[in-house]
Amino acid sequence: MSINRRNFIKSLAAAGSVSLLTIPTSARAAGKGKVVVIGGGFGGSTAAKYIKMMDPAIDVTLIEPNQTYTSCPLSNEVLSGHRDIASLQTGYAGAAKRGINVIHDHVASVDAAKKTVTTNGGQTLGYDALVMAPGIAFDYEAVGGYSKEASKLIPHAYKAGEQTLLLKAQLEAMPDGGLFIISVPPKPFRCPPGPYERAAQVASYMKHHGKAKSKVLILDANDSFSKKGLFEQGWKALYPGMIEWVPGANDGKVERVDAAAKTCFTGLNDHKADVINLIPPHRAGKIAQQTGLTNAQGWCEVVPMTMESTVHKDIYPIGDCCIAGELPVYDMPKSAHMAITQAKVAAGAIIAKLNGLANPQPWYVNTCFSTLAPDYGISVVHVYRVTNNQFVYVKEAGGISPIDAPPLQRKLEAEYCVGWFNNVMADAFA
């Protein structure tokens, strides 16, 4: 053991943050709890995997309607043609191989008092701990004229898969000199830089496929956005004159849409387009709302040390459905990376609880890349600590890529984004 290691232990003891995670064999044998995970995205899959990996004696069931998962991260690159959608897809064989019971079904209801989950297929499962990771639900009605049905004409493409391909087909079919509108909902929404990265990827397609006279118009309900300075710098350098952003304060908020006439209506203006990508407002996935876990804004609030719901004991909402952090400025972004770290905190807390051990120290980190071109990436990093049972954003750390970074940094970050993607896919699903 090195001196540093010894100091580390001493410092932990001094800080009173000593905790247990490695389960002694005896405790493992005794700790046969049941965990149900709702939702097999980045968060849910990671939680199921880490619980099973760290304590194989726990019975873990993952309930997910789809056989194939399509990653939202990097799905904007399908629009530019830089990436095939198959490269974003994975199944649940990895989970099954680990001994996780995978059920492909929807969840009909959760009884938080009886601690049971019932699937659409009629199966009822008891749980000692429930991980709630259903992602987001769209509030279609918040935009006049929009609906799930209308999303087949005016795609949101904010759940990757069919919707991504639909938007891509519309982009390919639009004429040169046409207008492509991206409508951004009020915060909070998943992948905060997503719409602005999308603008770059759409412009990239236009530039390289004979549509360079076309334009991307971002109609935004908000007055600022993630990595704004970096995006504006990148748009100007890579796609000059092709991308325009209209903030909420300047009549950017889309109130109503006419799907047949391909027109967006803001407070004062009509915008007729060739393609409309309307991202409706979000809230926590339906089953989280139905279980009564959501606050007035539609999100699940959590206890910082464990990710346990502040409403129901033994339910752990993680990923895009939860809201956490120092609101509204330093809240945890709804990203895959964040979902994975939240999942690991919940997994550690659940294992400790089922084994009667002290709760481990939680770690929350976010890394979020945006790719504007194959050799042009930018990022934002967040590190959080839990202090006095509060999420605290570590202001000495984190932040965005420097605006005056050398050109090589943009290339490195584009490459690191791909490396990040391969590793998070493996971390969650392998």
Binding site: S2, N4, F8, Q409, W420
Partner: protein, 193 residues
């Protein structure tokens, strides 16, 4: 009386130390889980641009993380992350990853490049060895590391706008023929031990 008190205090000290040592291990396990996202479980990366870090030397890992944290060495992302960790946590991470087994990356390499690499590493081998196993603890092991990651590291050393602390490495990297950068990386990537 006196003696029994002494015995008790010794006993509690011994027990305290033992339970602390036991308890601290898993806390590092909690910390490293946040590294897994990008560097893989046990530091085995499956992303070509991300280095595997399990089994690298403690000295090297501690140095590079400290240099990123202080800004002495350029980093695209790592510095921003490490500023959120204490020196003790960074030391614990270095110690932990150095104890993991080294697993060569599962990668497909261009045979021509690998062959060309044998001569291309002329300037590299005095420190990194012929197969990427260094003599010194502060030098990174390259054996079976991701080729793309090593190419990107060389690109940093070859670019004067990027702040890198190691003068000798900078000089030698810049003397490499542009065509030999990928070859040198492929050579070390192809090594098994």
């Amino acid at each position: 009386m006196k003696r029994s008190m002494l015995f008790l205090s010794l006993l509690s000290a011994a027990l305290g130390t033992a339970s602390l040592a036991h308890a601290a291990e898993p806390d590092v396990a909690g910390l490293i889980k946040s590294c897994n996202n990008c560097h893989g479980v046990a530091g085995v990366s499956v992303g070509h641009s991300m280095p595997s870090i399990g089994g690298l030397s403690e000295t090297y890992l501690l140095n590079i993380m400290t240099q990123w944290k202080t800004g002495e060495r350029f980093s695209a992302v790592m510095g921003r992350l490490l500023k959120g960790y204490t020196d003790q946590e960074i030391a614990a991470l270095a110690a932990h990853y150095s104890k993991q087994p080294w697993v060569p990356a599962a990668q497909t390499l261009d045979a021509k490049l690998v062959a060309q690499g044998k001569d291309a590493i002329e300037r590299c081998s005095s420190c990194h060895g012929d197969t990427g196993v260094p003599d010194e603890d502060d030098t990174p092991r390259l054996t079976g590391q991701w080729a793309q990651y090593m190419e990107l590291e060389l690109a940093k050393y070859r670019d004067d706008t990027i702040k890198m602390p190691h003068k000798k490495m900078r000089t030698n990297a810049k003397k490499l023929d542009a065509a030999d950068v990928a070859a040198a990386a492929a050579h070390y990537a192809s090594q098994k031990k």
